[in-house]
Symmetry: C2
Subunit: 283 residues, 2 copies
DNA sequence: CGCGACCTTGACATCTGTCAACACGAGTGG
DNA sequence: CCACTCGTGTTGACAGATGTCAAGGTCGCG
């Protein structure tokens, strides 16, 4: 079995603490109770609410899609953004609907769920704070490839397609950033395809957790908490397996102290061990 | 098992004869002998060869990434493009190498292969004529996520990152188009993930063939030839299974007249039946 | 108390990856 | 011409991972 030039063993495992999970000041590092009553305004309403909260608009310039963009463009983005508060499990857009707006997470996290005709479901990805989502379908006339659901109470910023085009016109750097994000997603997706095709369930689950820890984790080298609430079912649908298999693996790991879950919040206590499992260390 | 709002049963199965497989005049629709001696110039050489062949430069404006772009930008693209002839199985770029150029297929086809640290390999995607590749890594500082290999003798156009940025600056529409392509790839990749996670091998192989027939096929509604040479191994690595399982399925289908292969070129004789299999029709 | 959402655990069937062997054609060299 | 290797494709046998079925447990809530 020949292994060609392979500079980095596993890009997914290299915690991407840089680039995307920009060191934004993240107050509530420890998991909050995931069930707290979410605020009120629900997506889908027409009225734009520009200039919503100071904190919200302030963090727009920290979003990856605007990094390095012209100040005027950022200002325009800030003034034209529609910002909405979304309750947990609310649908932000639906699979199959035409893409009309570009979205970005101000606070909270969003999961993109794709359902097949046969009822099969997977989680395409999670969008954490500062990340954009729903972009891919906006530019190629396709329909949304999945439902976007608030994984927890969220603040979501969005722009119409026309607004986004104007922003790009004003600062092409925004398009470059979007391409970068899409490229990142694509890379992750290809990694997932490869894992699904060639690795065992346990390894894939471990990889899933490592990826999430890199994307939305806080903590150190060996201990990390994932700030997105995760049910067993979510882990399964992200790793491409069944609820049962995921539950078995997580329960086993929990039993040997490798990780812990509390109120759907997952804490990894031994990253190196998890990495070993992801790489098929113990089989 | 609940099936949420599901406007279109299976986006992958809707042959995308539009958008990407633009009706470019494709002379040799029928498979040529795949083993013919490929021309000479090999990628990686420094000397730019602008204004290479008339046919090549002429087809640049027909490429998806430039559709709708400003004429001046297209002209610039044409004059700055480096065009190379690549022999079959030659590597155009390597997994893990930093992305320095943007590529597009003038003639032929390219396969992007990702190898894992454990030796597991998958085919991320094929790029057929008119399609761009190697773009994703160019804008986010990542390294190439796979090897690009000529699936058959090719002419490949490419631009340096600086050139591409200049082109985008001149006509942001190019960036939009690239985002569109990436979005398409992402959508396909997500579909593959879902299929891998929830469907049987046979269904996935059928889906793989349908996708390829849509991307690089010629023929009618029920009969289609795939213009990319495909070994069993390629089918397997695209569908996320083993050579053996893929061979078994294809041999069985060949036996019942559903399809035929000749010299690594695959012809589907009964698209509806294949679609039925893809949807799990007969189990 | 019943109900729903979520999680755990056991038993079992089966898909499919793995191992092994063989066939065929093309090239290569003696 | 023959022997050999190499790449590709086919087929059979078998074991094991994992999906499926089934049952039950915990917690919060009305």
């Amino acid at each position: 079995m020949f292994v060609p030039a392979q500079p980095e063993c596993c890009p997914a495992c290299a915690l991407r603490v840089g680039a995307f999970a920009l060191a934004q000041p993240f107050a509530g590092a420890m998991p909050q109770t995931g069930t707290q009553a979410g605020p009120l305004v629900v997506a889908g309403a027409d009225p734009s609410v520009p200039g919503h909260g100071e904190a919200a608009t302030a963090s727009i310039h920290a979003m990856h899609m605007f990094s390095g963009a012209a100040p005027a463009a950022i200002e325009a983005a800030r003034s034209t953004a529609r910002i909405e508060r979304i309750a947990r499990d609310t649908r932000i857009f639906a699979q199959g609907s035409p893409a009309r707006r570009a979205f970005a997470v101000v606070t909270g996290s969003v999961r993109i769920v794709q359902s097949g005709a046969d009822g099969g479901q997977i989680i395409c990805c999670f969008a954490a704070r500062g990340e954009s989502f729903g972009i891919a379908a906006l530019f190629n006339g396709e329909r949304q490839s999945g439902d976007a659901l608030a994984a927890q109470p969220c603040e979501i910023a969005s722009w119409s397609q026309a607004q986004l085009l104007a922003l790009i016109e004003a600062s092409p750097r925004i398009a470059i950033n979007l391409i970068g994000s899409l490229g990142q997603c694509l890379l992750e997706s290809h990694n997932r395809v490869r894992e699904l095709a060639t690795q065992r369930c346990e390894q894939r689950i471990a990889h899933t957790l490592l990826r999430l820890a890199g994307q939305a984790g806080c903590g150190g080298e060996s201990h990390r908490a994932i700030s997105i609430p995760l049910r067993r079912r979510d882990v399964a649908e992200t790793a491409g397996t069944t609820l049962h298999t995921a539950s078995r693996a997580l329960a086993a790991w929990e039993k040997c102290g490798l990780l812990a879950t509390r109120e759907q919040h997952l804490m990894i206590h031994d990253m190196p061990a998890l990495t070993r499992i992801a790489h098929g260390g113990d089989n």
